[in-house]
């Protein structure tokens, strides 16, 4: 999909190259096969070692009953076919029921975090898009949550969400008097909102950064022309800004979706290895099944299901919305 994003320049480039190749790319013509492959080889090797090969091993493990009895001796783990998958996909069983629950929670969490990030990102980007005094400072300030290491951002939230000594309860109960009792944020039903807030605080600046870059590439003359024609601010946003931001939005939403759906750090640092039921996000759910309950086969099967889901969503998204033009993939 990355390869054809530049349909037009590419075909122009190709013409230029065909004309000049004979003189200027002699090496590439003599050994046209080898040189580009040598260039991508290091990237390919690293990807094979760290991603592709382990993933294949993971898929293999998902067909084994790899529990704590077999951790030290993998080859002895019995082959169980699709049983791990059937357990995971059966919503009436205990394993499948918990997985379905976790999936729904993750889905709601993803919708809120991605949607919220986009709304906050575009609002802030519109506010700092035009020139005013101190603009640079606001832009830098808004980017800080994204620049922080993930675990620092989450540790900060885990502190301010403490029930007895956290800043959130001081703000809501003692200062604003919105609540009478000091609620628990990190256990019970509120845990879901805690992980949403934490993730949203960290991820909206990324949307802001991408959207601001997109906004700055829209020529100001377009807005001036529309202004002269008497178009309202809202109308200019709908007819100029949104359509021209479409390429940015398509990529941004997909990337945010994938990151958020796979999010592990926020729930792990907030809740540790025993997340409250309402904040049992998929990555952590799988982690607990694999590394706490020592059922690697089941955990691997769940990961494969997650991967398939993300793959289907991404492919449908790319096809339906035609991300990257015609597409050769």
């Amino acid at each position: 999909m990355g390869s054809t994003r530049h349909k037009k320049p590419e075909s122009e480039n190709r013409q230029v190259r065909q004309r000049s190749d004979e003189h200027v790319f002699p090496k590439a013509r003599v050994r046209p096969q080898i040189f580009p492959y040598l260039l991508v080889l290091p990237a390919l090797l690293f990807e094979l070692l760290v991603h592709i090969f382990p993933m294949l091993v993971g898929v293999g493990v998902s067909f084994l009953e790899l529990t704590q009895f077999y951790v030290r001796n993998w080859s002895a783990a019995p082959f169980v076919g699709f049983r791990n998958y059937l357990d995971g996909l059966d919503p009436s069983g205990p394993i499948g029921g918990a997985l379905a629950q976790s999936f729904l929670i993750t889905f709601a969490y993803t919708v809120l975090v991605v949607g919220g990030s986009w709304v906050l990102g575009i609002s802030a980007a519109m506010l700092v898009n035009s020139e005013f005094r101190g603009r640079r400072w606001f832009r830098a300030l808004f980017l800080i949550p994204y620049a922080l290491p993930v675990y620092v951002a989450v540790i900060a939230w885990s502190f301010l969400l403490q029930q007895n000594n956290g800043a959130m309860n001081t703000l809501l109960v003692d200062n604003l008097h919105l609540l009478k009792e000091r609620p628990f944020w990190l256990i019970g039903n509120n845990a879901f909102w805690s992980v949403v807030m934490t993730s949203l605080w960290r991820s909206w600046p990324f949307a802001f950064l991408m959207l601001l870059a997109g906004l700055q590439s829209i020529p100001a003359e377009l807005y001036e022309a529309a202004s002269i024609d008497g178009a309202s601010r809202w109308r200019r946003f709908r007819t100029i800004t949104l359509p021209l931001l479409r390429p940015v939005n398509l990529v941004l939403l997909l990337v945010l979706f994938l990151w958020t759906f796979n999010e592990f750090n926020a729930p792990y640092v907030l809740f540790g290895q025993a997340p409250p039921a309402t904040a049992d996000l998929l990555s952590l759910h799988i982690y607990v099944n694999s590394f706490v309950d020592w059922n690697f086969g089941l955990g691997a099967a769940m990961s494969v299901l997650l991967l398939l889901f993300l793959l289907v969503v991404s492919v449908v998204y790319i096809r339906v919305l035609r991300v990257g033009g015609e597409g050769d993939a």
Binding site: A28, P36, V50, A167, N265, S283, L307
Partner: protein, 280 residues
């Protein structure tokens, strides 16, 4: 563009809103890092009763913070340097050559971005352990293992962004150099790389931040000697009581390198995204 009064009022209100939500957690961290331990254990107050900088001195002895810091620095710098170099090579091939398998390669590399880390964490651990047994290269618990792991995390985004960046640079520049007898690699590093610096810097920032902040793999692939900050900071909370003031002080100390670097170089990041990725 005409700036009407309504918009100015909306802008002031909006900027105030965003400033507040951004500063609320940051202020909490900063103010708590200079409070005595008794204060951070009782009800939170916006203004400290007593200011102390002792937490900033104590963080180094409560846990081996300096060692974690050095580990994180070595691993992140190593991963960044190698991943940028590898990404430049791959992006150059994709941007400048038409070879069979090019589309498949780009798609495969990009799709690794969506692999759930949890799926390949355990197999990776097993592969590292077995590689050590088979060929004697220590990967589990070593810097090399984590460097290799982290550099691949940044690769998909780096390659994708650099391809976009290289595509936006006219070939005539390199061709002129090649007419003068430079090889393709020479043209890449002497001509293309210097003019692509904003994009490369953006990619490097991204790679460094990815490595500096990673938690999941660090928790499994490091041992006591190679533990990184992401895992090590938890030790302020593992002892029977949580040293919240020290934890906040340490959080600030470990954030300074990345936040300062990020803010200093953020205009490259915006330029890089604008010229590379975002163009569509």
């Amino acid at each position: 563009m005409r700036e009407d009064r309504t918009f100015k009022i909306v802008r002031v209100a909006g900027l105030a809103f965003f400033t507040l939500i951004t500063l609320f957690p940051l202020y909490t961290v900063v103010i708590s890092s200079i409070k005595p331990l008794a204060d951070v254990r009782s009800t939170f107050h916006w203004v400290p009763s007593r200011i102390t900088f002792a937490p900033y001195a104590d963080i180094w002895s409560t846990i081996p913070l300096a060692r974690y810091f050095m580990n994180s620095l070595l691993i992140s710098l190593g991963a960044t340097a190698i991943s940028v170099f590898v990404a430049i090579l791959a992006a150059y091939a994709i941007s400048r050559y038409r070879f069979s398998g090019r589309g498949v390669f780009s798609l495969t590399v990009l799709s690794t971005q969506m692999f759930p880390g949890i799926l390949f964490l355990l197999p990776l651990f097993v592969i590292y352990v077995n590689l050590e047994r088979a060929i004697g290269i220590q990967l589990y618990g070593s810097y090399a293992g984590l460097i290799i792991t982290y550099l691949t995390f940044a690769l998909p985004f780096s390659i994708w962004m650099l391809v976009g960046y290289f595509d936006s640079i006219p070939r005539e520049l390199e061709q002129a150099a090649m007419v003068d007898g430079t090889t393709a690699l020479g043209a890449l590093f002497r001509v293309l790389v210097p003019v692509s610096m904003p994009g490369i810097v953006a990619v490097a920032i991204f790679a460094f931040m990815t490595a500096w902040g990673e938690v999941l793999f660090a928790s499994v692939l490091t041992d006591d000697a190679t533990r990184t900050l992401a895992v090590g900071l938890r030790n302020y909370a593992i002892q029977s009581n949580v040293y919240w003031n020290q934890l906040m002080a340490a959080a600030i100390v470990v954030s300074i390198p990345v936040v300062a670097g990020f803010l200093a170089l953020q205009r490259y990041l915006v330029q890089g995204i604008a010229a590379g990725g975002v163009k569509g």
